[in-house]
């Protein structure tokens, strides 16, 4: 009798031991757009290389929808309805964290591990001395130059010696006067809704609307300088205003000489402008001054883990593995055009390739060469509001000839006021 009981207890222990601990991980991951493809690939790799029992469903939601879901979950206080791993844009990260710090599982990569990433990404994702999300991709800003509009000597000069924002204007005026058969711009975008040029400039100085410590940067000397450049470029016709979306068609129509945009633009024009292959080349951004770095990162994305999920451990393991895995990230770059934030990835073979689309330029290497110098820019939880206020100011300055100083001061004042409440 005793033996039987012992046997049962033994069996019971063995069964329960085998039951707990071997629950396969089954995650839900939310992402948008091309990141969905990239993450599906990441999941496959993780399955092959680390845990064959691992399973994850990558759901595609638009960014705006994920925002809405986050806010609703916060207000209803049901974080279990959020996914286990969620992609987040650098612009939204701080805002999300301030709204709901508890949902962010913190990562513990100190010392060496932290240095594996482009430093600005770690800076942005470290809030209150905690790393709240793993850097995933960055948006290095570059100049997409359309060679047929240029004088080759100028291009080579820029590649070797760099250029300044003042020179951007003179080169631009030259190009425009040499190409009078159609409307040509150096850069064109929706100047009523997009701060991209301004942001690129201030980001080179590590500034945007607010500092990490919620100090307003709009209206300071860098801000004034950047804005006066933007206005000057617009007034002189070097930079053009157009409705949303049309700049891509203008680009493949050969009307834009030096579009300033995030890295992902390359993938987009490749897909719609195959017959312009070979006519493009990546140039570094103009810098504020000679001998200053022109590196700029105007955006990025991170993966964060839902601390209230019942699979936090598995989610963390996956996220850490993936974001630190150069091969997987480069595969992602190949699939979806997202530039990795992991420095190791830049050593990969893939970066040494010459791209025919860009006239056989080693364009990836080009971008990777100075991207680690890019300073961090911060987006606070007031960012959506600040952005709206800034855009109103930009509209006034550019289209109504309002005074730069006064308008920026007004924007600053309204940003301050909003931040007090």
């Amino acid at each position: 009798m005793k033996k039987l009981i012992l046997l049962f207890v033994f069996a019971g222990i063995i069964f329960s031991l085998s039951a707990c601990g071997s629950e396969p991980v089954d995650l839900t991951i939310w992402a948008w757009n091309r990141n969905v493809d990239i993450l599906i690939d990441a999941v496959e790799r993780y399955k092959e290389e680390v845990d064959s029992e691992f399973n994850a469903t990558v759901l595609s939601f638009s960014q705006g929808d994920i925002d809405t879901k986050f806010m609703a979950a916060k207000e209803l206080n049901n974080p279990e309805t959020m996914a286990d791993v969620i992609l987040v844009d650098s612009m939204k990260l701080r805002g999300y964290y301030d709204m709901w710090p508890e949902i962010f599982e913190t990562f513990d990569i100190s010392g060496d591990a932290a240095e594996k990433f482009v430093s600005s990404t770690i800076e942005v994702a470290t809030i209150n001395n905690k790393l709240v999300a793993m850097p995933y991709g960055i948006a290095p800003t570059y100049v997409f130059a359309y060679k047929p509009l240029w004088d080759t000597n100028v291009i080579n000069d820029i590649l070797e010696n760099g250029w300044t924002w003042d020179e951007y204007k003179t080169v631009g005026l030259d190009i425009i006067s040499n190409n009078t058969d159609k409307d040509v711009f150096m850069t064109a975008y929706n100047m009523r809704g997009d701060d991209r040029l301004y942001r690129t400039m201030t980001s080179q100085k590590g500034e945007w609307f607010m500092s990490r410590d919620i100090e307003v940067q709009v209206g300071n000397s860098n801000s004034l300088q950047a804005m006066s450049w933007v206005k000057d470029l617009y007034d002189s016709g070097v930079v053009g205003h157009i409705d949303t979306g049309d700049y891509k068609s203008m680009m493949i129509n050969g009307q834009i000489a030096a579009q300033i945009q995030g890295f992902f633009l390359g993938g987009q024009i490749k897909s719609i402008g195959e017959d312009t292959s070979g006519d493009w080349i990546l140039l570094p951004l103009p810098s504020w001054d000679e001998n200053e770095s022109s590196a700029s990162i105007t955006g990025g994305s991170y993966l964060y883990v839902n601390a209230f999920s019942d699979q936090t451990k598995g989610a963390k393991e996956f996220t850490e593995w993936y974001t630190l895995n150069a091969d997987a990230l480069v595969s992602g770059l190949e699939i979806g055009g997202i530039f990795p934030a992991l420095l190791d990835a830049y050593e990969h073979e893939y970066f040494k390739q010459e791209d025919a689309f860009f006239g056989n330029q080693k364009y990836l290497e080009q971008v990777a060469s100075n991207i680690h110098e890019a300073p961090a820019i911060f987006a606070s939880k007031y960012n959506a509001y600040n952005y709206n206020q800034y855009i109103l100011g930009q509209e006034d300055i550019l289209f109504n000839d309002a005074s730069i100083q006064d308008t920026l001061n007004e924007v600053k004042a309204s940003i301050l006021e909003n931040a007090q409440e």
Binding site: T28, W32, N33, R34, V36, D37, T57, L59, S60, F61, S62, Q63, G64, D65, T68, K69, A72, E75, L76, N78, T81, M82, A83, T244, G245, D246, K248, S249, N253, Q268, S271, I272, G273
Partner: protein
């Protein structure tokens, strides 16, 4: 003059139907088609690619099934609930009827966005957050349909109903055999309107869906239509597939709907 009018009419119809034409052409074209200035307004060859993009990222069939089940269920339950209420209010007197009428009437002014969070909280407390039931139950009430059905009830003759009572029929029998047959077609139209409304319902389902099992078509379309993405061809394709069943149903039912000789 009549000829000019007819031509004008055809132009107007063409313009009204233009979005459908646009979508149908767009779904066969690549992503950049909508952005190009010199686009061709004819069919392209990207239909398969666009479809493939959708099926590679979503469980398309499952999503369509979800939308179908939800819309059918909502329409069925809602038609019954709303019709019974409209009928009761139109044909019978009872205490507080005036008050109720006023309540229902003013509720037409409650925009979905204003009570969004409140609605979600209710759904959460009922424990149906995120489930299929949660996408159906909150949408049973439709005030427009209620008003429409209320109006319809005027065409049911009270005299006939009285006659039925004199003959000793129960109210239920009267409703079943006398009242409903008169307006049966229009009730079917209400069913259709409720189906359409549920089929196109976006906001609350999107917020509640978290695991992908209950994904519905509008959420799919919203995901594809993300301004940051570049999937216009696939977006149009998803839109077309979303609209097609409605058009088919509508054409089938149209005979019953558009009797203009009788009042609407």
């Amino acid at each position: 003059m009549k000829l000019i009018k007819k031509i004008l009419l055809m132009i107007v119809i063409f313009i009204m139907l233009y979005p459908f034409i646009y979508i149908t052409i767009g779904m066969t074209q690549d992503a950049g088609w909508a952005f190009r200035n010199d686009t061709e307004y004819w069919f392209g060859d990207q239909f398969k690619n666009n479809l493939f993009y959708i099926t590679a990222h979503f469980d398309f069939l499952r999503i369509i099934m979800n939308s179908l089940i939800v819309a059918l269920s909502t329409a069925m339950i809602s038609t019954i609930v709303v019709f019974l209420a409209a009928y009761a209010v139109n044909k019978y007197e009872f205490k507080y009827k005036r008050l109720l009428l006023m309540f229902f009437a003013t509720s037409i002014f409650i925009p979905q966005s204003s009570i969004l969070i409140g609605n979600l909280k209710t759904i959460s407390y009922l424990g149906i957050y995120g489930s299929i039931v949660g996408i159906i139950i909150p949408f049973i009430i439709n005030i427009r349909v209620y008003v429409y059905l209320y109006q319809l009830c005027f065409y049911v003759s009270n005299d006939l109903m009285e006659a039925g009572r004199i003959d000793g029929a129960t109210e239920f029998k009267i409703m079943k055999d006398i009242s409903i047959p008169v307006i049966k077609d229009k009730i079917i139209f209400s069913f259709f309107m409720l189906f359409v409304s549920s089929w196109n319902n976006f906001l609350i389902p999107m917020i509640m869906i978290s695991k992908g099992k209950n994904y519905t078509l509008p959420v799919l379309i919203s995901s594809l239509a993300d301004p940051l993405s570049y999937n216009t061809g696939s977006t149009f394709l998803a839109l077309s597939i979303s609209i097609l069943p409605l058009i088919i149903l509508f054409v089938l039912l149209s005979k019953k709907i558009f009797e203009i000789d009788s009042k609407y």
